[in-house]
Symmetry: C2
Subunit: 353 residues, 2 copies
Amino acid sequence: MNLPAAFDAIGTELPSLDPAIADAVRARWDAKTKPLGALGDLEALAVQLAQIQGRSTPTIAEAQILVFAGDHGAARDGVSAYPQDVTWQMVMNFLAGGAAISVLARELGCGLSVVDAGVNHDFAAAPGLLDLKIAPGTASYLHQRAMSIDQCRQAIVAGHALAQRLSADCLLLGEMGIGNTASAALLMHHLSRVPLAECVGPGTGLDPAGVARKLALLEQASQRHALRGTDAGALTLLAAFGGFEIAMLVGCIISAVQARKVVVVDGFIVGAAVLVAQRLAPGIEAHLVFAHQSAEPAHHRMLGEIGARPLLQLGLRLGEGSGAALALPLLRLSLSLLANMATFDSAQVSQAS
Amino acid sequence: MNLPAAFDAIGTELPSLDPAIADAVRARWDAKTKPLGALGDLEALAVQLAQIQGRSTPTIAEAQILVFAGDHGAARDGVSAYPQDVTWQMVMNFLAGGAAISVLARELGCGLSVVDAGVNHDFAAAPGLLDLKIAPGTASYLHQRAMSIDQCRQAIVAGHALAQRLSADCLLLGEMGIGNTASAALLMHHLSRVPLAECVGPGTGLDPAGVARKLALLEQASQRHALRGTDAGALTLLAAFGGFEIAMLVGCIISAVQARKVVVVDGFIVGAAVLVAQRLAPGIEAHLVFAHQSAEPAHHRMLGEIGARPLLQLGLRLGEGSGAALALPLLRLSLSLLANMATFDSAQVSQAS
């Protein structure tokens, strides 16, 4: 495969979000037996889902959870509270059904696929595991680029192709990768110009001293690559700071939006992929559902930079797509309310005077 | 029935919330394959549900929605955007399956019962309708007490008895009654001493002029009853301002808590019933799950007065128990995660260093 050509073929045009469809759904809501706007964010959600799907009767037939997993060279330099081995161990746990996202997938009746974007482990083939490994983990951005530009493009192309061949009309996007809040913080800093100290947080659970050490390391990484204040493109930044799972998410997000799938964005790391995707496809945030605001302190600010309003605020900081999964009932229920509530006419209920 | 005696027999002692059970559940969470505390509010929720049920393996076997409906004399004096007839029309809509709460009940697999606490309409017997009517609507507090003290006690006793005979271990409590945000605002003002203007809002959808008119009417009502600044008890206030559905909710809440049922509180009106219940049974808020913060502006302040932290913030202002129903998936999923996630040991995942 000619990678640069494949990358250029992706295209970054987005489908239209038809205001007439929004108006039609609002009119449907307003005829329902409830005060105008009384279902609040659920009404806006169904309007958005309709625009995404390009029809005034939105539905979710099949929701699929995708967890993109990758390892980070910098994890061995002390940016995380956990050893790098936890990435592959958690992948095994996802597949064995014991992780939070595995439990949620069963309860919600969703498929769960784990995408090996670049885990530092040789997995045997297993149901639910998709081998799209670019390399066994990135290099450490403390010493060199996390990946080459070609690897970065390859990962984006792989994520793009993956979303195209999935039958599900709703994708819940999550990730696993020890050290990946550090990559997300670096990307956020360089893409948004928010000071690095405000992008760095405890991740899986660093104590304040650990956060200070992480910040010092990331400051060092940022200086090493000397991309701050330059007009470095999104690919350059992504290649510098990683990771493979984030790059693959970028491609998957763009492709799924192009295919008018409902894309539910999980937390801080998937949010960093959205920041990258916005550079490649400006305006893409309007096509995405943002599941939640996490406990990672910078996530609130990141959502503001993206221009996103999250559905839930539950103090989660797990990743895996768990927040996206927890938001799925709200999507399903909003669509069922829109489809199944009676109208004032049909129920013979008086309207406001 | 000797009503005062029946009322006195209710008792307002609450079950203990055992800290050892909380510790046991926290230990169960901490052994699960996730960073400590990473499931955020869902972890605290399962801890609370365990304490409510008095066992470290909490479950919800059967969730039941109860919508308490009542009419308010003051509705005919202009405190609502909707005519009083909408109360009984919406009860019919609940029973026919067309209302938001009907759709949610079906989707969530919950029973739905509508309690006629005092609707101004003669209903034919119907499946799902419980006739506990105290009277066909309250009197208008603009002219007299909304109800007598005996009616108030009767309503509380009826709500108390109802919760005792339900088999469900989880009750989702909602209400319907044109004009009942006005009663809730009056109760909030007198029970919390928050200025009346900060307790009054648009309810089902008054415009600013309508809110100003509502405030003027409620100020008039408050002056008429001259209970402000007195040590009037909760029953005196409830009798003065109504309504029957709120009084019945008070009894139901206390009884369900005493029976260690999981009680999910909906919005502003059920919140007013909680404020009353707190006077009768101090500390009851720790036994209750608060589903959401609604769009009614005073609800945020009310939750603060109660000492409650809501699960959802979706800008809802529908009532009917809709917010409680929308929170149910979070309760169920938190309990399933606690029951079914693997531990670090069982999944052979490394822990933080």
